[in-house]
Assembly symmetry: D2
């Protein structure tokens, strides 16, 4: 950590600051420049709050040298993590290909879609039972009934399932039915929820918030890791942008940036990132080419009847075509798309 002092700091203020830092067990190293004096802080800088240092009179700025997350960092775990989702590994060369409708609507539809995506090569099935909707008047999901359908369909097709958790009070219920918990973009900094899913051992798909920096995303992962759950898969799903052409702005560079900072798997979600089906294939391919550990695509067999987010889903046939191209690209990149076989969990 580096503390940059104001030009007019007084000696007493400086001593006050140095004492504060040293009382936390850290050493200080003063460097008096022509225009500014800087203080190098030596030791474990997470023992001290940068924010609090910024409050000291005479401090111009504080520059952290290390990130505030530890467990999520490459320093803590230099090898890529592989997260096992009930038999499907994600990360470290294994791609998690998640597909399915936005919301679970009924068993017949779910079953048709699951069959189609399984045949196309997907290895994880998604479907929402508790839907966070921006309007209180929109369909909010089937609840436990939806979870039961998702579980049954996933078992039938040997596809581990992913579903969203929105309320800490129904975590126990959701855990009975799912192989992976999704924390949505709007809940990425719902720290109450992060603390709860951190106390399970179920894999968590943590989606990046629309205004979250990559540091913010990794700090949210740190919440989960710090509570004891190491099974976190990150997901880039588009951030807020200024061009209305796309629903969100797909930040594909987040993939290599996260790779340079963290061992956690990172997948991409071109459905939410673009909100336009005709853009999904290009962005899915881009994500894989950038090194993503998987791709999350919404698939619906009749978007016109979808109860949620129809416009951003591919048809099963479109998905199959994309999946073929993604498989070719995966091979070129030396990645494996694992398949779950054997008994249901």
């Amino acid at each position: 950590m580096i503390i940059i002092l104001k030009a007019d700091i007084q000696e007493e203020q400086l001593q006050n600051l140095l004492e504060h830092v040293e009382s936390a067990g850290l050493q200080t190293h003063l460097s008096r420049g022509t225009f500014r004096t800087i203080v190098g802080v030596i030791g474990d800088e997470t023992a001290i709050s940068a924010d609090r240092l910024r409050s000291f009179t005479g401090v111009h700025d504080v520059v952290p040298v290390l990130p505030a997350y530890k467990l999520a960092s490459l320093q803590a775990h230099p090898q890529p993590s592989v997260v096992d989702v009930s038999g499907v590994p994600v990360g470290g060369g294994y791609l998690g290909m998640i597909a399915g409708p936005c919301a679970v609507e009924n068993e017949k539809r779910m079953d048709d879609i699951a069959l189609a995506i399984k045949q196309a090569g997907a290895n994880l099935l998604r479907g929402g039972a508790y839907k966070p909707r921006s309007s209180p008047y929109s369909f909010q999901g089937l609840g436990e009934e939806g979870l039961k359908i998702l579980r049954a369909v996933g078992d039938r097709h040997d596809l581990p399932v992913v579903t969203e958790i929105t309320d800490p009070r129904n975590l126990d219920q959701v855990l009975q039915y799912t192989d992976m918990l999704q924390v949505g973009a709007r809940n990425m900094q719902n720290f109450v929820l992060l603390n709860e899913v951190g106390q399970t051992s179920t894999p968590v798909l943590l989606k990046r918030g629309m205004s979250a920096t990559i540091d913010d995303l990794l700090m949210s992962a740190e919440y989960i890791l710090s509570k004891g759950n190491p099974n976190v898969v990150l997901c880039e799903r588009g951030i807020k942008g200024f061009d209305p052409q796309t629903r969100n702005l797909f930040d594909v560079a987040a993939v290599p940036v996260i790779r340079s900072l963290s061992h956690l798997p990172i997948i991409v979600d071109p459905s939410h990132a673009t909100g336009r089906p005709e853009l999904i294939p290009s962005c899915a391919m881009a994500g894989l080419a950038a090194g993503a550990d998987g791709v999350h695509v919404e698939v619906h067999d009749c978007p016109e009847e979808a109860m949620s987010d129809g416009p951003q889903a591919l048809l099963p046939g479109q998905y199959a075509e994309l999946a073929t191209r993604m498989a070719q690209l995966a091979e070129l990149l030396g990645k494996t798309i694992p398949v779950k076989t054997g008994a249901s969990p």
Copy 2:
């Protein structure tokens, strides 16, 4: 609602679309242009999902003509709402001047700050007991102990109190102690929480999320209103921006924009918006001049010792100076800063 069709839509697709709209009890009106055909939808367009219409083959775009919120709109309630916070009205010419520390730390400090802001002219006291922090290793608040201190200090100085709610499971507890519930920016789209606070009758301070459009903010207010709680005060506290000079980007135009769309009071929070104490006074004055119904400022008597967000707090003396200037401006603008007197609630 206007549906813009693709140039190559087929007659059968068009009929399919028209039937769908009409089956929802709406009328359609076709307008065939040189390059595009458009369909005007006549009737209550909230009866139909724009998203679902976008999924129909042959649809180029759907342009809603009315906002998706109803209860929050000026159409529903043409006069400005006045929210009564235990004797302090906010809105409709009455300014809510909220001040206090980021977190409740101890009773002595809370008492000193409350005395100072009361004397300066604030009429509502804030203090967090449950703190959403971006790092799991940061101070997370005193919990119920903090609520007790806040209540006692507020009563002592005749200042109704505002505190943040982060977990639906401790709503009952928080309600015992507070006059106003704050829903923070990171929880603006935590719909589970919005549903819960909507089922109380306690005033809610709803802060705008960092990537929320004003429509998003009003939709979140609609969640609360639609559950039966009409006492919502909105708060502009800065959105995500690209210039690191300020912690967030203070969107002062949100004040007149909201005024043009909604009857709900809107206050500004220059502390979170800027993150720099030297910018707070200018932005507080700007917010009032733009027509805000109040100003939320963090005040701490020793930022260097603050357990949270010290760098964005004013000292009590700085706040007093600002409060004097704000009172002059309020007078020029014909606004009133109400004072609670009489018995504690």
Copy 3:
């Protein structure tokens, strides 16, 4: 300047780096921490390129301590600058109230508007003769004919005039007619143009680009100052934002941020910032309350007939009402709205 080294930097790389810095006449100061080593650079850091240092093997990051601009900084000129626009001072307590149509259209209209804004209290007249339009098919301005009208009308009403320069090849022509040159937002980093206007002594109104940080804006001002022209007035006119409610995002905090960094006057332009006439008064008042040195408002007597940007103009009567409120606010803030009297320039 602080250089943060990578953990794995080798001794030879470090020596190479230190030699490079020292060969530029600067001193270095090494501080070896537990996790990182940092190098403090002592001396005039503008003698060395941060970018080039970032290219050295083993360098993690470079943190400049001083801004890259010099002449625009408060260090170079601790007192606020006052720019004289042919008898109307702007800055240092004097407010520049600029009003007029987007484009000069004809002499009658220009004269009517000038009369109205003069009576309302404006002290500078704007009007574009060379219009940068996003469509090649839009009206591009009257050229020299427009300049002649602007000059004649300004003289008739004792209003110094402001007009935009877009092409270095007609600078001499424009200089014949105007009291102040405007460099538009889209040309803020047209360095060729900045160099040219820097070689005149005519006041320059430099508008902030839509994606420009405040540092970028001050660096563009530095171009002009470094060529010898000290008469620069900055203008905040809205930056790119994500909410379509407003045409741009009015960054009112830019006013106190610039005040904390530079001596140059800073005015606000709520017309371009919002693009909606009903929001202009609130944002104009907000800008003044934040400490701006003036307000730029587009005024047109028949927006329906305006050849450019009609929707963001106030009617003369609306402007007069706003001007009255701004004058009251200016008085409260202790600012003066100077009036040019006497002979034409």
Copy 4:
């Protein structure tokens, strides 16, 4: 074009509006809804200004149905354009692989780099002679001396050359030496410059501005096309974002978005988009996978000595490795990387 009226529009205002539209040779079609009346405008909507319509009293909003650009649109030219850069076709399945240093520094260095990138498989050589730099104190390029070096080196290695134009006054000079003119991001809306390059027949590489929407970019292309030069290649080079991890935000979805709107070739520039060499390969691959018609990468043999933008350049060996991977991906995608052979131009 659709005009949405305010609920309280008066009959006379409506007639006034309809007359205005019809006087431009367009037809109107009224659709009276429950809450709003809308007017469909039938005919060539570019004959009328949406902005001007927005200024009419009683108009709530105007929704254009067709884009404002014509020549750049797919409607005007349904097949992908192929731009010939002195023997190297770009677009329509042919990839333009542009590489070279940010600035031409000296002939030896330029020659070494050109040899390396040619061997690696690049087919176009870049190098700046006139550099737009954000600081007036930075190296501004070698001028004509740099152009001469670039031309000589390009000829020697059979690489057509690309260089930036910043000043309309030296267009003739630059045209003597270059095969392709680059208009940089900061000049994307320098309409004076666009008009000038539009009057040549030399291919233009038009880079997207940092706050430009895709519509803005296509409107700037329209300027060039409308002046008679059809040889425009677009370039996505990163837009303004909020995360300091990358210099800009690489908007890879711009590739398929542009493909859905325009026939013009679109290439990507991961050097400027990320500003970090370790991210360039992933983003280059992502761009190609998304369907880009080429990749622009800065290459320098000694970034530590680069006079401009060293930190975002790859070393020749790094570029060769990336070029091999890009060639494999191009093959998978069915694209061709053309090579210029034979006599110099």
